[in-house]
Amino acid sequence: MRFLAEILLSGLAIGAIYGIIAIGFAVIYKTTGLVNFAQGEIAMIVAYIAWTISTTLSGNVFVVTGGALVAAVLLGLVIERVVMRPMLGEPVFSTVMVTIALAVILRSSINFIWDAYPQALNLGVGRDIVRVGAVGMRTGQIAVIVMLLALLAGFWLFFRYSRYGIAMRAVAGDDRTALLMGISTGRVHAVAWAASAAISGIAGIFFAITYDVSPAMYEIGLKSFPATILGGLDAVIGSGFGGLLIGVAENLAGGYLGSGTKEIAGFAMIIVILMVRPFGLFGQRDIERV
């Protein structure tokens, strides 16, 4: 029982990180119809910015996270304005290739700006171990699960009740009609990129607190991608749950079947799920008039 509890809780914690990044994937896809393959790299860059603030300006958790999230929003806006907006109207394949190129550039920038050493993001919180009986968890792991649930609730409310949320759904549904209704699609795209960068940044910071910042950190983006496919590329809330499912499935496979199965568990899961629901667990069926 203890073993199962350890496996499940660790799975939920890493799954929450996948889930938050998966939300970032879904926010961009929902509003722009694009898969941003630089999502993990953005999380890594924001984590490095947080580490830089913590080692140069202040180690205060609010200063560090606030500063890093402002930087994330700016990064998202710059990427949208400089890199993505010129690609509007271009074939989807070309635009996706641009995000892959962006990922490589961001990945390589780590060594130019920082260095190859892993670094600890020490904010004085998140590294303590809380024990309930024989099962231990770091406070950062508990916090990231709570953060995912808060984001899911926040996005549900945002898309349902806020004007901007409804505008984003309208652009996702049909950007031309939305434009005719007076919605600035350009602005919606910019907000989506900024929000997505900030969301990934949150995941990056939590990851860095629990583990470390390192140039290999971008790989969490690759692990999060199955989560958004599983939840549904256009399903923001579903993507978050997808992350939890992938995290738990990976850990159960690693714990009971052997570590070799851990890496493939998430992908095996999406193959099975997509056979039954090709648009993901929570995604919407795409209907086209022919």
Binding site: I7, G11, I129, A134, G136, I220, K262
Partner: protein
């Protein structure tokens, strides 16, 4: 008059730095050009940048002493990102386009093996001092010399030491799913057979994995008392932190690719007492301190900050090459340099045991020592 001027001009050009008459490519009357293919970007830059700093220390030291028979050494580097295909491409470029005289440090084990046909065919003197593996020196190649110790032997020494110190205990092992992991596993299995160790948990992980919660939970469940963490940097950090979370304290051994002092800080107090094995001196030893003192005056502040164990490996390899080139005198050729590297006998560098090569011996097979982490000083100390 015109002819005289042209002749005088050509003669002046020859003396001012043109190719030396009886020397191979990359050598002028005033300079020797060396080139390294090394990872300078991505996570493996941790070893590539540090290794290059070691080569630079050796070059700066030689240049400060007047160079190699009056010629100053200059180093150029090419980044392969630790990808074999890029190592091959960059090696070709160094030899055919940049026309370097020798290679004082080539990328990791798999990358050197990938570039072996290019190196072998060209005959360029090459030192492989990042990660020596058997394929580099068995069968011996005329111009390729490996500095260090083999992964298998390193693991054997560490596991034997831990087995003797912890008789009758249960063992666990995790390795990476690549050539490095295979070498670690092979060395481990040798001692398991030899000492009849009781291995209760064994697993491998995919390179780049960052979460080891399920692996460590299984390790705990299996009751492992001595654990060989076969990761490199981040992986070992994640494993040790996970052990701390699970409130278990097995005896932990790590291998030299991950024996970087900065890692102890990342692991935190849980790193205290971890055992490691290496063929280069720990920085906490008098030899390590002397090397740091020397390096401080020879490289930039940024380069000094990059120093880790790979710096010593790079330094030792470059010293072998420089000593051989020096013995060749002014007529510096590949043939002579390869011959003189082969003739290296008990070369003292201060950072590892004296190095020797010989006829058909292309590997220093350097002496290993076990060391233990001290979290209080963030250093490794030799175990007596």
């Amino acid at each position: 008059m015109l002819r005289t001027l042209i002749a005088a001009g050509l003669a002046a050009a020859a003396f001012a730095g043109g190719p030396a008459a009886a020397a191979d490519q990359g050598v002028t009357d005033t300079e020797i050009l060396l080139g390294s293919v090394i990872p300078l970007t991505g996570p493996p830059a941790l070893l590539g940048v540090a290794h290059t700093t070691g080569v630079k220390v050796a070059i700066a030291e030689a240049n400060a002493a007047g160079g190699v028979n009056g010629r100053k050494i200059r180093l150029i580097m090419d980044d392969d990102g630790y990808i074999g295909a890029r190592t091959i491409q960059a090696t070709r470029k160094l030899i055919d386009v940049d026309k370097v005289f020798a290679i004082p440090g080539q990328s990791g084990s798999g990358q050197v093996l990938a570039a072996m046909p290019v190196l072998d065919k060209s005959g360029i003197p090459t030192i492989a001092s990042v990660g020596p593996v058997k394929g580099m020196y068995e069968p011996p190649h005329k111009n390729i010399f490996a500095v260090g110790s083999s992964y298998e032997e390193g693991i054997r020494v560490l596991v034997r030491f831990l087995a003797e110190k912890n008789p009758g205990k249960t063992w666990g092992l995790i390795t990476q799913d690549d050539d490095y992991g295979v070498a670690v596993r092979d060395g481990f299995d040798d001692v398991v057979k030899e000492k009849k160790l009781n291995v209760v948990y064994s697993a491998s992980y995919k390179r780049g994995q960052q979460d080891f919660s399920s692996e460590m939970a299984r390790l705990k469940d299996a009751g492992v008392e001595v654990f060989l963490a076969g990761g490199i940097i981040s992986e070992n950090v994640a494993m040790v932190k996970e052990l701390e979370k699970l409130a278990i304290k097995p005896v932990v051994g790590i291998f030299w690719p991950g024996r970087v002092e900065a890692v102890l800080k990342l692991m935190g107090p849980a790193s205290d007492g971890i055992y490691a094995v290496d063929y280069v001196e720990p920085f906490a030893s008098p030899a390590g301190q002397a090397f740091l003192e020397k390096a401080k005056g020879l490289v930039s502040e940024a380069e000094f900050k990059s120093i880790n164990r790979y710096t010593m490996a790079g330094y030792a390899g470059a010293r072998v090459l420089i000593a051989a080139m020096t013995r060749c005198g002014r007529d510096l050729t590949w043939a002579c340099t390869n011959r003189e590297i082969e003739a290296t006998k008990d070369l003292e560098t201060g950072v590892m045991a004296p190095m020797s090569f010989g006829p058909n011996v292309r590997f220093t097979n350097s002496k290993l020592q076990v060391m233990q982490a001290d979290f209080a000083t963030l250093s490794y100390k030799p175990v007596k």
